[in-house]
Amino acid sequence: MKLKSHKKNDVVIIEISGRLNAVNVHLLKKKFQEFCPEENSFVFDLTSLEYLDSTGLGGVVSCLKAATNNNGDLKIACLQNKTKMVFEITRAYKIFDIFEDVDSAVAAF
């Protein structure tokens, strides 16, 4: 799993690629913490995310909760077929705002 980040219109965009699971979810949480509490608007760009299990998804949910507790939000962009299915099977799509592309997600803040 690899993480890259940049900012666009005061929104932090974190690109997650590879496989997000119990082995590496702590890295995502650590990366997210680097921006807290100064930043509170996030988009996770999942274009290159191949797979995530429930532990990985749990990590994304933790980030969402941290953002909302800091009066902000976290939006999901560019879910691919496989990861979309995981979001559907686990009903996680119901708790996130999900967008087709990063620009739409950023514009939604």
Binding site: N21, V23, S54, T55, G58, V61, K82, I89, T90
Partner: protein, 541 residues
């Protein structure tokens, strides 16, 4: 007053302070280290802090009587001796004595007491206590050493499941008590050819286990230094020399030494006083005890100058791709029922035949032993070992069947999930089914199995996964040697609420909820120390 060279450390509990003062005065010159207290609550705290040898206990006390205090003491230390000192007059039915003696480490002395008698009683009780304590410590150390020896022994043996490109071997290994004199190993000699040893060292327990370790090392060395063309009789002659010369005929071993050649499907073996292989013929469904010409030799270690000879003693068997071989030590056929009737070879063969008819999965040894126990043969007098070896056809050409083994490590189990996903996509093209399988397998292995296998020390595969694609469903079976567990038939519902209490549910129910939402049917069974979990996932369309 010393016992085994040490002073006696004593706690006296009495609600009458004057009694405690008298006792203290009486014992002060007697090498007794005495603490006193008059309240039950304080007494239990002192007991937890100090290493007393004995407690003198008054029965009638206002806040907590002696029997209530004894109950608290026993919850903390079941062996600490207590002498009840009381002026209560017993009933005609000896109710008091009966209540006191209900506890094995409680003694009784009537007040007022004679000091010498009390001192003698204290000395004698503490002597017994210290001696028993030493024995308990000795047995605890012995048990710990045996546990360690058992772990070492298991490290020497192949894992319960071994899957290589050429073969699959599963094994069931059950010592009578912690360590065993049974031995088995399968070692590659050259591509497609494997040497196998299955042995039973006479007797059991520590001495047999030590022989087992030595033979294991010896055989490994012999295979390592031999060329590709390994000779079964050479191995037996060297083992015979080990028992007769090196160990001066103090013990012996029956064994099967064999060479499996999966390139040409040929088994060659010599039985040195050991029960032959059983072979399951997939076409006829029959299980036969091999060795049609009744060839064989004497056990190794019996006769000093005996020369084992392949020409006269080896048996050669040609087999099919689907044939399965079973090797056992006689601990299985000597298992007996409550009428002391032993199982015997023929009943074992029939139970094996029935188990193989029900399934040809590699875990047949566990099914057979389960069937034997269900048939009432539960008494084990000797170490039990059973192996199943078959050609690994699944890896080579089956389109709807996948076998995988995994080590209990998240990186590896993640890889297993990927393998299953690729296999499903390749053979069905169904991406949703593939993701469901991958997610289910990850959830199960990471959340449930890893927890159950957390104390596994031995390296190598511990988990066997078997995936079969049928026309209308996919059957996923997972076998592991983790803790026993049962499936919660009523897990939390899978909806967005499972993410509400994210941290809590991550370890308490979310995995099960996801699994249940994917698999229509989940079944758990346990065969000896092996868990079998089956999932059925319906295919759409």
């Amino acid at each position: 007053m010393k016992v085994y060279g040490r002073d006696i450390k004593l706690l006296a509990v009495d609600s009458e302070t004057v009694n405690l003062l008298l006792l203290e005065e009486a014992l002060k010159d007697k090498d007794v280290d005495i603490d006193c207290c008059s309240v039950g609550g304080e007494a239990i705290e002192l007991i937890k802090k100090n290493n007393y040898d004995i407690v003198l206990l008054d029965i009638v006390m206002p806040d907590m009587d002696g029997f209530e205090l004894r109950k608290l003491i026993r919850a903390y230390d079941q062996y600490l001796p207590i002498i009840c000192l009381t002026a209560i007059i017993d009933t005609i039915h000896n109710d008091l004595i009966e209540k006191i003696s209900a506890d094995q480490a409680t003694y009784y002395m009537k007040k007022p007491f004679n000091l010498d008698r009390l001192l003698n009683m204290i000395k004698s009780v503490v002597k017994t206590y210290r001696s028993d304590d030493e024995t308990r410590k000795y047995y605890t150390t012995l048990e710990e050493n045996l546990d360690l020896a058992s772990e070492v022994q298991h490290l020497l043996l192949p894992n319960w499941i071994m899957m290589k490109e050429d073969f699959i071997m599963s094994s069931l290994y059950k010592p009578v008590y912690k360590i065993s004199g049974d031995i088995f190993d399968l070692t590659k000699v050259s591509p497609g050819r494997y040497f196998m040893l299955l042995g039973d060292i006479a007797g059991h327990g520590i001495q047999a286990a030590l022989y087992m370790s030595a033979i294991h090392a010896l055989v490994k060395t012999l295979i390592m230094v031999s060329d590709d063309d390994i000779k079964l009789d050479d191995i037996l002659n060297r083992l015979n020399s080990f028992f007769c010369v090196d160990m001066q005929k103090k013990n012996y071993m029956t064994c099967l030494v064999a060479l499996f050649d999966f390139n040409i499907n040929k088994l060659t073996f010599i039985s040195a006083g050991h029960l032959s292989f059983f072979m399951h013929d997939a076409e006829s469904g029959e299980v036969k005890l091999l060795n049609p010409e009744n060839k064989g030799a004497i056990p190794v270690g019996w006769v000093n100058d005996y020369v084992f000879n392949c020409k006269t003693e080896a048996v050669e068997i040609d087999f099919d791709d689907d044939s399965s071989f079973f090797g056992i030590t006689d601990g299985i056929i000597e298992m007996s029922n409550e009428k002391d009737a032993i199982l015997g070879i023929e009943k074992f063969r029939l139970l094996l035949e029935k188990s193989v008819a029900d399934t040809i999965s590699p875990v047949v040894p566990y099914y057979v032993c389960h069937a034997i126990e269900k048939a009432g043969y539960t008494n084990i007098e000797d170490d039990v070992c059973m192996l199943m070896i078959k050609k690994n056809k699944v890896l080579k050409d089956e389109k709807n069947h996948l076998h995988l083994t995994a080590v209990p490590d998240i990186l590896h189990t993640d890889f297993m999930g990927m393998e299953c996903e690729h296999f499903i996509i390749k053979n069905t093209g169904d991406e949703k089914l593939a993701v469901e399988l991958e997610l289910l397998l990850n959830e199960f292995l990471n959340n449930i199995l890893m927890h159950g296998l957390e104390k596994c020390q031995q390296e190598g595969p511990k988990i066997l996964v078997d995936l079969v694609i049928n026309e209308d469903e996919v059957v996923l079976k997972i076998w592991d040697k983790g803790k026993p567990w049962t499936f919660n038939t009523n897990p939390i519902a899978i909806d967005e609420n499972i993410w509400d209490d994210n941290n809590k549910l991550a370890t308490a129910g979310r995995g099960m909820a996801i699994i249940k939402s994917i698999a229509g049917k989940v079944e758990c069974n346990r065969y000896g120390d092996l868990n079998e979990t089956s999932f059925i996932i319906k295919r759409e369309g």
